[in-house]
Amino acid sequence: MSNDRPGKVRMMQGNQACAEGAIAAGCRFFAGYPITPSSEIAENLSVMLPRLGGKFIQMEDEMAAMGAIIGAALTGQKSMTATSGPGFSLKQENIGYAGMAEVPCVIVNVMRGGPSTGMPTLPAQMDVQQARWGAHGDRGVIALTAKSAQETYEQTIRAFNLAEKFMTPVILLIDEITGHTTEKVIIPDASDIEIVHRKKPDEDPENYLPYRLTDECVPILAPFGTGYRYNVTGLCHNETGFPTNDSHDIQCLIERLTRKIEMYEDDIIRNNELMLEDAEIGVFAYGSVARTAQAVVRMCREEGIKVGLLEPKVLWPFPAKAVFAMAQKVRAIVVPELNLGQMAREVSLASECRVPVHKLGRVDGRPIPPQQLVEKIREVV
């Protein structure tokens, strides 16, 4: 199943592309728990990892899987877990821990319908706000998305790169459609893939501070076992990594956890724009729904309605600047999504009331077909 041939075209489903991307990014540790519709990621990696000397383990529950990847990451491994809605809820506790302790790791959520057990086999995009605010406490969050198997491959690699660069858990949100759609993926030559590794300390152990305050705002955590003995905790801590109750230290820490993502927003955020230059109606769509939107832009243009698409590849940090720019150009924005307006809310905020923002929320476990979005746009026009 693994593949080392350069530029090879293969047919695979999004979930397999995710596994392939993880391997390409250097992931050598996966811990998971079975859950539809993400299980193929675990299944593929259970085959691939041991062949590469990597480790795969099916843990006893979702919390354990999240804990295990954090433990593995602290030994210097690139580690990942994959889940879906209910499991994502369970993982939040330790996702928050990884955010607080600044441990790089990747969490893939193949979104299905909720709330609760909801629709195990059917697609949704109902976890996009949970990805931002699911764990308690304030901190910056990076969450990526993908609309095809190819993008899932690429975004999985990027998720690892961002995690290593910013020392933070990175979430990849795809949905059941993307996870289970089999299509062509071009696997590039390994030498053409950009791979980022976390920084190593350049001072000796005596002078090492794991959470040293620097202008970069990103700590350098030495892998366990390399002679740098320090403490990692989910409690508020100071530069040493030990718990603190000092108000100044705590204020610094919590502000930095948000700032270290905010200050790099322009590096992190990526958008795809389609025919936005002269658009009168702007569509904001992400994940599998962006494919519907692409079709709709063309269909509407044929009808003479000038529609353009803003498709974020990164949901968090939210691409507020791009939305604001679009809001200054178009007459109205339409946000189709497989929830009842979770990102439409962000779009409204970011557009600062310049134009009306229309929601198109579908929550019956069915994708939004092009015709439904075309009708919505006609109605808006």
Partner: protein
């Protein structure tokens, strides 16, 4: 070529998702076009109405699910009733003649053959029903080359079952020829 939308429907466990993957790979890998395969199934591993869809196109495929169907295969009455609404007026419907007793009325072309029985009696293994169906539909649809279908099947079926699957495909292809001649 514009989109060619195919839906393979039946009940869970009939191997239709595998059939969809084979059809998509035949088109995309071996015929060098684009193809996207998606699926929809219930929470259960067996039974229920299940479908696999394949969209074949020369250019980029945006919306991945089948929309206006060029071809519908139905191996159960339930799936035929549930999933036939999107079939184009000049589309193709292929059904298992012994199981789908009441195909919907319409101007589409209907081809009926005892697909499951062919697998069970002529090949001797009911599990190859999906491959028999692929033989029939690829002959009738003519959208994927025969050679590519054979390659795609051989690449996907378990080792040691190549011969019986080829036999199933041959039998399906032959049935397709007969249906076209009628």
């Amino acid at each position: 070529m514009d989109r060619y939308d195919v839906r393979l429907s039946g009940s869970g466990g009939q191997g239709l998702i595998l059939a969809g993957k084979i059809l998509a790979e035949a088109a995309a890998i071996y015929d060098g076009r684009n193809a996207v395969q998606t699926q929809s199934y219930g929470p259960e591993a067996r039974g229920g109405a299940s479908k696999a869809e394949v969209v074949i196109k020369d250019g980029e495929i945006d919306y991945p699910k089948a929309m206006d169907l060029d071809l519908l295969l139905s191996l159960t009455q339930e799936s035929c009733t549930k999933y036939s609404g999107d079939l184009k007026e000049d589309g193709i419907m292929i059904v298992d003649s012994e199981i789908v007793k009441y195909p919907p009325e319409g101007s589409f072309k209907l081809y009926a053959a005892p697909i499951t029985s062919i697998a069970a009696n002529k090949i001797g293994k009911i599990v190859v029903t999906n491959i028999v169906a692929l033989g029939i539909l690829s002959k009738i649809a003519g959208v994927v080359t025969e050679e590519s279908m054979r390659k795609a099947i051989l690449a996907r079926v378990p080792k040691g079952t190549e011969e019986i699957n080829m036999k199933a495909f041959d039998e399906g292809w032959k049935t397709g020829e007969e249906l076209l001649a009628e």
